[in-house]
């Protein structure tokens, strides 16, 4: 079983060992019915990993497995060296946040929908994002025209997807598992969302795993391919700058990241 550690020397933020997932139809644990098994993955703080692969290969299942949301999946997981079993599953999920494909926004206003996680016992005592933080986040992803008092039902699909992304990211997770967050967005907004999440990852040391179906946007540090139950991770050789029209050719990944972060912070 290969160990697909990104060779950076540091201890990984998130360690996934021997992840396996059964197919939805099967109730037994036989090998034919598994979507994947024996998958290992290491992700470092601030790292952006794109998860690609043919449809049905289990990308979403791997993400929900890592978030401990998938009843058919199993894995040995550690975060910052702490075993997942040493904390409540709710605590794990607030730290390793899964951003679902479907954007459901319970709550009567956009603000209420975004601070919803802070109403749960698992986030008790955490500092809620204030109105300005929420406003800034909405503005950054092309939602300047969405008021905090807007009823979430009145949002378009693309707007709801971005509000849902903001809700997850403002939980300040250590790992964000973004499942096709940009699927329903036009190119401009997909790019804004990509840059916002990447910038957040770099500023807060959050690891970001993205399932994407769009063409690579040059923000990822590595591409993980899931196919036929096997995962292969390739570092992105030439890390592109945030602005695709100005590619950086041979810059070191770390340098590229910090330049990118500076650019995004502006």
């Amino acid at each position: 079983m290969g160990n697909f550690t990104m060779d950076t020397g540091a201890t990984p933020l998130l360690q996934v060992r021997d992840a396996s997932c059964r197919a939805a139809s099967s109730s037994t644990d036989d090998s034919e019915a598994s979507i994947f098994r024996g998958i290992d993955l290491d992700v470092h703080a601030g790292q952006i990993l794109d998860l690609v692969g043919p449809s049905g290969s289990g990308k979403s299942s791997l993400l929900t497995c890592i978030a401990r949301l998938n009843p058919r999946a199993n894995a040995h997981l550690t975060l910052d060296g702490v075993d997942a079993n040493d904390m409540s599953v709710e605590q794990w999920r607030t730290r390793v946040a899964y951003l679902p494909q479907k954007s459901l926004l319970p709550g009567s206003t956009v603000k209420e929908a975004i601070v919803l996680p802070y109403t749960f016992a698992s986030m008790h005592g955490a500092q809620r994002p204030d109105d300005q933080q929420i406003r800034d986040a909405l503005d950054a992803v092309g939602l300047a025209d969405v008021e905090l008092t807007r009823d979430p039902h009145d949002l378009s699909g693309g707007q709801a997807a971005r509000v849902s992304m903001i809700r997850s990211i403002l939980m300040f997770p250590k790992v964000l598992l973004a499942d096709e967050v940009d699927a329903g967005l036009d190119d401009t907004n997909a790019w804004l969302v990509g840059v916002y999440m990447a910038d957040f990852a770099h500023r807060h040391g959050m690891a970001l795993i993205r399932v994407r179906h769009r063409a690579p946007d040059g923000l990822a540090d590595a591409i993980a391919t899931l196919a036929e139950g096997r995962l292969t991770v390739e570092p992105v050789e030439s890390s592109h700058a945030a602005d695709a029209s100005q590619p950086h050719d041979t810059a070191e990944p770390q340098t590229a990241q910090s330049e990118q972060a500076e650019r995004n912070a502006q």
Partner: protein
């Protein structure tokens, strides 16, 4: 429970008002004349009424011409059996027969709840038993020993009809709440999974469905409280008046029972939902769709 009973107490004047004005001058004769027994001819005429309904059903092709007489026959047998057993237990006048009969009613109630609740998972019998037992025992103690205070304390004539009425309403409320809860959880699947992903506990993720189920379970009770004495003379009151009791006493009993049923519905719904919501989740607090028991008619 205190605020609820307080509200009910203040509502008592309101609901008593209707029967009181209607029976402003209770005829003293009614209270002492006693009841009229129904003879064989009376029973035959009643059976004839079922036959008429069956014939109409057959002519109109309603499709109930088979089930209606069977249900009527069942009712005769069950009611007769209950009458015989009740008469016997009342004659014995010992507390253990009262308790034994209540346990038997409880067992039947569990079975009826299970058959009425639609699309619920297997293995709920114990939870339902605990819920019905706890809520019935609590309410019987409150109503019989604190409100009615019969001598002896186990007076079967008081305890058994009240227990039966409590149980009957608990069964409806619990069956309704269970069906609604699991249906709502299935409908809200995506929302529940989203809430779990955002760090909600199973309880927090189920709360919307728990509320919806409790509201659903309480609706018939609120309706019967509001319409009692205006639209309907409820069963217990009608029975007591027919049996020759003072209508005002009957009205008071009816209100006590309605009040108890309101509290009972809340308590039993809260209990059963608390006991079963976890069924929708795995040990690791992941949503798992329930596998309904094989559908029963």
């Amino acid at each position: 429970m205190m605020p609820l009973s307080a509200t009910l107490a203040s509502a008592s004047q309101l609901h008593l008002a209707a029967p009181v004005t209607i029976n402003a001058s209770p005829a003293a004769g009614i209270a002492t004349s006693g009841s009229y027994d129904i003879d064989l001819w009376g029973m035959l005429i009643a059976i004839g009424l079922v036959a008429v309904a069956t014939i109409i059903s057959a002519i109109a092709k309603l499709g109930v011409e088979r089930s209606l007489p069977i249900a009527a026959a069942r009712a005769i047998v069950q009611l007769a059996a209950m009458g015989i057993i009740l008469r016997w237990v009342i004659e014995q006048g010992t507390w253990w027969w009262v308790v034994l009969l209540m346990l038997g009613m409880l067992a039947a109630a569990v079975q009826i709840t299970l058959s009425r609740a639609k699309n619920v998972p297997r293995g709920l019998a114990l939870s339902i038993f605990l819920t019905l037992a706890a809520s019935m025992i609590t309410m019987v103690i409150v109503v019989v020993e604190l409100i009615v205070r019969p001598v002896p304390w186990y007076s079967p004539r008081v305890v058994l009809p009240l227990a039966g009425m409590m149980l009957g309403n608990s069964v409806s409320a619990v069956a309704l709440a269970l069906s609604r809860f699991f249906e709502d959880m299935a409908e809200r699947r995506d929302e529940v999974e989203t809430l779990l992903a955002l760090g909600a506990s199973p309880r927090e993720a189920s709360m919307t469905s728990i509320r919806s189920a409790m509201r659903m379970g309480l609706m018939p009770t609120v309706a019967s409280l509001a319409s009692a004495g205006i639209v309907t003379i409820p069963g217990m009151m009608a029975g007591q008046i027919l049996a020759g009791n003072d209508p005002l006493t009957a009205a008071k009993y009816q209100f006590v029972v309605l009040a108890a049923i309101a509290a009972l519905t809340m308590v039993s719904d809260a209990l059963i939902l608390h006991l079963v919501y976890g069924r929708c989740f795995t040990r690791l607090h992941q949503y798992q769709p329930i596998k309904p028991r094989s559908a029963k008619k």
